[in-house]
Amino acid sequence: MSSLAAAPSSPGSHSPRVASLIKVARALVVPLLVLVLWRTAVARHWVNPLLLAPPEKVVTRALIELREGELWPQLFASLRRDVLGFALGTIGGIALGGVLGASRLADRLIGPTFHASKQVAIFAWIPLMSVWLGTGELAKVVFIALAAFFPMVQNTYEGVHGVAREYVEVARVFRFTPWQLVRRVILPAAAPSIFAGVHLALFYAWLATLGAEYLLAAGPGIGNLMIDGREQFAMDKVFLGVLITGAVGALLNTLAATLERRALRWRVRNV
């Protein structure tokens, strides 16, 4: 039961509440230092303020965009295509990964092609997408789905393939139907690996959302906000875009981690 992870780091005998406050405070040290450095660099004219907008200008810009009602539609457009692409890619990825993991024949038939095509750098699909599907919403969503699809297939495959033979035998002893085998044994046994795939897929989908908006420019989105900022040489706008991108990414990740913790509560910790 004793492990390094379980041992309290150094807040020693503090109550859990205080300990978690200390943890948060420590995590904020670096961002605060960066903020101070950023502020000082602009104030002391170490850098050209045209290239590095001061933090307060970024905040002002956020307020302006919010008041003029520009920010929400842009953010909403990005999130919409992110979620749509993520959902498509994840569902497709779990389906293909599951089939490859469960069927030797499918693995032999489709596996090599899949493993070869996942070697293609994801952004290399952009030129094809734009020729085949244009630069509209469809091309973007398909590209995002593709970015989520590959890690999802890989992780689902590994999870399903790695289901212990011993558990499958228990299912045979109890004469489970194929559907019961999938629902009662394979899915739960593969869940940790599938969740790892969801984590990656979320990350790649958001990356691809920004990539698609940047490289298949057309229509609203956070990427579009940043392109506008760059073209107008409004660095506050660009910085605002960067901050929002990071915040959304972090938020999605936290969401996935929370869901995962709830779904996999049975897992042995501290091993």
């Binding site: 011993e166 558990y167 035998e169 228990v170 045979r172 002893v173 109890f174 004469r175 489970f176 139907t177 019961q180 009662r184 044994v185 739960p188 046994a189 869940a191 996999l264 049975w266 897992r267 042995v268």
Partner: protein, 257 residues
């Protein structure tokens, strides 16, 4: 003989192909197990005793000869034959209660009867209070109790035990042997215990089958007539233990190991 649970094994042989060479694991094995009997199978490793149990369970149907349960040739697993493996094989993602309930997944009983049966088996193996625990929260002995409950919950007429206490410490092991004897007396179902622990085989079995390896076959079958519940200190049991041990040590190939 109206009671179900007769197992008839006739001329059973089994071979594995390893590196394109046939390896004979069992050869010409014949044995009849009576309803309600407790049969122990003991032998050194490699004598094919676990393989035989897998054939009876129906997990492996690639053999020659005949295995009949209540007159029916075994062609696959059956809810009528419960099995406990050396590892507990509880599903780590289910609570103990849900794990035990797995045996009723395909039952046509109404929900109330299922609940009640699960409860009864939790009590039977002494796990009251641990229904909501996950397997990793239990000790090895408790997990094995849960595995026994899972095998019994749908009320099979035959219970197969594949070295169920082999991975437990000596104290827990003798404790669970006692428990198994009590459960067997309460349920009276045909039981086959595969083990390499001679005392365990003699303490529990009505008959003890001694197997010898390469190829796996029956060397001798001994009767243990002492009444259940038994006393470990019984000199009759001790004498049989010595006899069985002698048989195993005399078996030609195992002494060469």
């Amino acid at each position: 003989m109206g009671q179900p649970g007769v197992i008839d094994i006739r001329g059973v042989s089994k071979q594995y192909v390893v590196n394109e060479r046939a390896l004979q694991v069992l050869t010409g094995l014949s044995l009849t197990i009576q309803p309600g009997e407790f049969l122990s199978i003991v032998g050194s490793s490699g004598c094919g005793k676990s393989t035989l149990l897998r054939l009876i369970s129906g997990l492996d149907v690639d053999y020659s000869g005949e295995i009949r349960v209540d007159g029916q040739q075994v062609r696959g697993t059956s809810l009528d034959r419960g099995i406990v493996f050396q590892e507990h094989r509880l599903f780590p993602w289910l609570t103990i209660e849900k794990n035990i309930g797995l045996g009723l997944e395909n039952s046509t009983w109404p929900a109330a009867k299922r609940r009640e049966t699960i409860e009864r088996h939790i009590d039977l193996v002494g796990l009251r209070g641990f229904e909501q625990a996950y397997p990793h929260q239990l000790s090895g002995g408790m997990a094995q109790r849960a595995a026994i409950a899972r095998a019994l919950v749908n009320q099979p007429s035959i219970l197969l035990l594949d070295e169920p206490f082999g991975a437990l410490d000596a104290l827990t092991r003798s404790n669970l042997q006692q428990e198994l004897q009590r459960i067997w007396q309460a349920e009276r179902l045909t039981t086959i215990l595969v083990t390499h622990d001679v005392e365990e085989a003699v303490f529990l079995g009505d008959r003890v089958v001694v197997m010898q390896p390469r190829p796996g076959r029956i060397r001798r079958v001994l009767n243990v007539s002492a009444e259940h519940p038994r006393d470990r200190a019984d000199p009759e049991l001790k004498a049989i233990v010595d006899e069985v041990r002698g048989e195993i040590l005399e078996a030609p190939e195992s002494s060469a190991n």
